[in-house]
Symmetry: C2
Subunit: 408 residues, 2 copies
């Protein structure tokens, strides 16, 4: 079977009966040209409300029961949406994650999809029905409902698109697509027509959260074309796809920033094998994500090691590092919270030398001090003072020509 | 496995996290002496709220989707209750109707239980867990969720009690048990310690709705002892059970009334075979429940036929009967809305002649006119003017000695 399309709608799109009818009309229209599978999230704030209810009962709700509770949100969305579509004369059927053949592992509240057995979906599509699947949920090997954690509905949509060999996975959002920068910070942003999985992953990694990284990873792995577009307009959005040659004509695709990290340094770390492993092993044991590690080898036998951690983990990280520093005979722990990471992302960098140098020059010319630098093949990130964030993002956006009409 | 008890809590008992904790404490306490299976309804007004939401989308929601929607209410209750019980240190697990092995037929929104496969419940009980089952729902042969219609959670509880050979099925309500009459109408009512299935069925049939008739029928069929008791006290309630000898010592167990029926008559119905079938066939085709049919054979070759129908169906019934009357050559259609049915119920009647005569005399002495009479082995019902309801119920309650200390 071909000509299948997956449409995913988030919670705000199905928050009220009136909004559900708008989604239904859109699905019914699409079903004239495609076999349609719809994935929906729980309505509006329902998931948060249920979590609040649970914590009024106990501060440590059992994870299996939490999943039983949270799964009801998506079930309400699929039932109501199916009613709405049927009332418009198009046959449809709602399926829970378990009914849709979504098998997950046993890690309650943040399960991974193990496999998809889409026979039931295919059977219903063959009958001419729109199939509406509850996002965010699956069945584990105990026949229990599990949920997939944050961004889980996107993951359901991408995984179904892959299993069904859909032509496209449409992700409907409240923005028109992926932009060259955050529209709240930069006035003349442009919507990108096309972006590669890798670029999108780098953007997701630096705080531009149109989609969670895990869904993009799955899309990349199985080559699923994602179409991020607006719930409120018929306009085309942004296609997330594998690299195509024309992408390399554009050096930088987007500018991103992240104010959620803090900078940490340990001074006078003895330059001996195994020392770095001790430092980062201790942080990993505490489940603290470390980013942008830099080791300065200014002096003999001693280094300063700097890195960033999420601001929410800073206090915890500092207390762990004080102990580690003592053990390994290092110096002081220095930290700074009012920093931001500003990044430029673009596949074109690969074939255009000198991009990093240009970025540093742009910032230096306007007296923006760079505190840390890290680079990957398609991303360059600089840590700057938090107060310089907006200025830096706007400068880079303009100087890399992103305010001009998009060429992709 | 024995020593199992089923506890059923209605929606008002689990309406808030605070109330859920009270139920949990009660369950945890019971689990010290019994293996406990709990059946719960959807919290508070959730079912009604979901129906309202559905009708804001379409006035004719698809029944399968309605069941998908409504099933979420009970799922929330079981998850939250299980969290609460676990937080008190007692292990527990929530199961949806399908997970609990409750198989139903394919009639969405008012399915019947087909069979129960309680292996999963038994396995979890053997592990020492309290098992919490979603009431009102089951799985049909298409692997779809179905709901059991009004009173469905009671039905789930009684059916589980039967399948598990439980010692008792406790139905927790906001009243202390079954009373000799409606406490809103009669001041000195008594709580009954014991009532037979048949008496309870007759009471349910005349508007005394502590429980729906269908659950009592199932309990009778499988000999499940029901214990109707208060959520708010430890006091014993009323046992509904099969007849035991001492029940016959009491002639009348309870007085009931029903203001929801209207009286209808067709005059001058030709006395020919098949005529009654035509009249009541037409009403049955329109799904109108008919009760208390009386045929007066006052004159040769013509009868008056009277009966009662639910007030909500009166208009519909009248218009159907006008057509039927034309077809069969009968006379006028006469109806009266301001009537009430007052009934006395008691197994003791079987062995005590003259009960009907006593009832008629009690009413006649106080100038209460009897418009229709119908009797069964253990019930006598009279239709009187609606304005006489309270007076009639109080009179009968007193004259049959129900205001005296209960002897059962």
């Amino acid at each position: 079977m071909n000509n299948i399309i997956v449409m995913k709608f988030g919670g705000s799109s199905v928050a009220t009966p009136e909004k559900i009818k708008i989604v239904a009309a859109r699905v019914a229209k699409k079903s004239k040209s495609y076999k349609v599978v719809v994935v929906v999230s729980a309505p509006g704030d329902m998931t948060d409300d249920l979590i609040t209810k649970a914590t009024r009962i106990t501060l440590l709700p059992d994870p299996r029961e939490m999943d039983m509770l949270l799964a009801t949100g998506e079930m309400q969305s699929i039932a109501l949406l199916s009613m709405a579509i049927r009332s418009m004369g198009k046959d449809s059927i709602s399926l829970t994650g378990p009914q849709a053949g979504i098998h997950a592992d046993n890690v309650h509240t943040k399960a991974k999809i193990r496999k998809i057995m889409p026979q039931k979906i295919i059977k219903e599509l063959q009958k001419g029905k729109v199939v509406i699947v509850a996002g965010f949920q699956g069945l584990n090997s105990n026949d229990d409902i599990t949920t997939l954690g944050r961004g889980g509905s996107d993951l359901t949509a991408v995984a179904l698109a892959s299993a069904l060999k859909a032509v496209e996975c449409e992700i409907y959002t409240d923005v028109k697509g992926v932009y060259t920068a955050d529209p709240r910070l930069v006035k003349d942003v442009k919507k990108l027509d096309l972006i590669s999985y890798d670029e999108m992953l780098e953007l997701a990694g630096v705080g531009s959260q149109v989609m969670m990284a895990r869904s993009i990873e799955v899309a990349k792995k199985f080559n699923v074309i994602i179409h991020v577009r607006s719930s409120f307009s018929q306009e085309k959005g942004t296609l997330i796809t594998r690299e195509v040659p024309l992408m390399e004509d554009v050096v930088v695709s987007g500018i991103a920033y992240d104010k959620n990290e803090a900078k940490l340094s340990i001074t006078d770390v003895p330059d001996k094998p195994g020392i770095a492993a001790k430092i980062f092993g201790a942080l990993a044991n505490a489940n603290i994500n470390v980013d942008m590690i830099i080791q300065s080898a200014a002096r003999e036998r001693y280094n300063d090691i700097s890195f960033t951690v999420p601001k929410s983990e800073l206090k915890n990280a500092v207390s762990i590092l004080k102990k580690v520093s003592c053990n390994i005979g290092a110096g002081r722990i220095i930290y700074k919270e009012d920093v931001a990471k500003v990044s430029i992302v673009g596949i074109g960098m690969k074939s255009h030398p000198g991009v990093a140098a240009k970025m540093f020059a742009i910032l230096a010319n306007k007296k923006i001090n760079i505190e840390m630098i890290s680079t990957s093949e398609i991303k360059i990130s600089c840590v700057v003072s938090e107060k310089d964030t907006q200025k830096a993002v706007n400068l880079l956006h303009k100087e890399f020509g992103l305010n001009k009409s998009n060429t992709r």
